[in-house]
């Protein structure tokens, strides 16, 4: 079943991005269990497509331009996360690039645990 749903997720895309109308059409044909798995895989896919750039203060324009250049064609959001103190934290797919003070202090703390 997993392979079938995986193929359906691939079919739900247009030009590499998830297409809402296709998703609705496919969802109508699925049973309860299959729908649950389809939803979970779509969520994962969506998560992979999105790039989240967290900054302690509102992201400056220059940073936004640079990030858009690196991740061209992908959905990017720039939420504020004051707990980072300074720096930024970029999450894309299953990677986190942590260039924040909070991350640095966490690593110092771990070295004492």
């Amino acid at each position: 079943m997993q392979k079938k749903i995986k193929n359906l997720v691939l079919l739900s895309q247009t030009k590499g991005k998830l297409d809402g109308s296709k998703i609705l059409t496919i969802a109508k044909t699925l049973g309860r269990k299959e729908l649950a798995l389809y939803y979970r895989m779509l969520y994962q896919k969506r998560h992979e497509e999105k790039v989240v750039v967290k900054t302690a203060i509102a992201a400056p324009g220059s940073l936004i331009l640079r990030v858009r250049k690196i991740f061209a064609g992908q959905d990017i959001i720039f939420p504020k996360e004051p707990s980072l103190i300074a720096g930024l934290c970029v999450q894309f797919a299953d990677f986190i690039f942590d260039a924040s003070f909070q991350g640095y202090f966490s690593s110092i703390r771990k070295s004492y645990d």
């Binding site: 979970r40 999450q91 797919a93 986190i96």
Partner: protein, 508 residues
Amino acid sequence: MTKSTDEILIQLQKKLNAFGFEPGLTNVGTVEQMGDGVVTVSGLSKVAMGEMVEFEDGSTGFAFNLDEDYVSVILLSTKTAITSGSQARKTGNFLSIGAAEAFLGRVVSPLGEPLDGKPGIKAAKMMPLERIAPGVVLRKSVNTPLFTGIKSIDSMIPIGRGQRELIIGDRSTGKTSIALDAIINQKVARGSRRKQVLCIYVAIGQKQGNVAQIVDKLGEKGALSYTIIVAAGASDGAALQYIAPFAGCAIAEYFLQKGQDVLIVYDDLTKHSFAYRQLSLVLKRPAGREAYPGDIFYLHSRLLERAVCLNEKNGGGSITALPIVETQAADVSAYIPTNIISITDGQIYLESDLFNAGIRPAINAGISVSRVGGAAQTPIMRKIAGPLRLDLAQYRELAAFAQFGSDLDKATQTRLDRGARITEVLKQTNYAPMRQAHQVAIIWAVTNGFLDDIAIDDVSRFEIEFIEYLENVEKKLIDKIDKEEKLTDEIAKDLEKEVIKFKKRFKI
């Protein structure tokens, strides 16, 4: 480990002064579901098999199944606050345990945490739980005896340092007692030139009460100072029971690297197999014979192959393994027992019938074997124990005719009498290992017929008093037997003289 506040502040100050910002790239995943001690995580595309994974709440686990879209992580922490949707990150570390001299005398969990209520232990070195066994070139053949102090074993089923000798039998046949006797016998007297053999006892799936009793017994006999106990109890979950023997082996390898000899007891591998089966079934791995996963043999072979005797160029240390397997209704042809029999260098087979008949240790010398054999015995013991096995084998063959006592010819009757006395001599109380010189003396006496005229009921008393006599009156002979490599004519004459002298004093 606790550090003083001042120390921490000084180190923090140093780090801040040398501030160099290095951003980190971490591979993360999202918890999809959790149950039965297994967490299914999506993402974690770069995690390796057996790599440690950390969760948001601080819990840890290790990656055990790498599927196309998911990673199954076995949880090591029992109390967790992991929820669906929380984050998991790979740590880059593999499962390892801290090892140090300070572990001696302590009871620890397979993660290195103290279980004996004493303070935490600072690890000198982190040892990986999974490690490739040393290759052929690094090894040498097993040629140094590991004395267990049990007459039947040291004479007929000798164990050498670096050997794997399986102890197999039904429940309550004395398997653990044999292992504990072997540990207690490793005690080296102060001032002795003998090299101390360190001991590690791995308790897998046992009752906490049993482990406590073992700790008490070892403490009472003064064996705890050179023993480490790694315990994963019955309530500890399959993950800890699965890694317990590997943790014990990792600690043993720490001492091996320092050139020391280590004895490790795995009690028992049957419960270890159960734990591994449980994990594999929860992970939906294909089930094979008796519902065990297909790699159950590899589980034990890679563990037991790490028992080694290294050559001098590589330190000269050794790890001797005594795995214990519990059979059901004496079935040694079951799956797990046959697997481990084929891996080990011999087995000590314990029978319930012998145990119930009062023959303790209940070792069936006929089917017990040590594939290292005489190479792991001193020449003197090898010479003396030679006729022992044959005499016992003949006795067993003739035992069926014992009921026809008066109808037997003299030679047969003599063999039966000799066999009965040998059986009596080989009996031994538990937690009372015997010195090699004492074993040599009494076995020599019985195989040369000096006990043939002693009543069977008096044989054990004769043995005790004879050994006492030798220790108190003729200590020189005992010391000579210890020092001499071979059974010289002089020693034989002295032994004969002392036995005859003692028999005159012995009151029947």
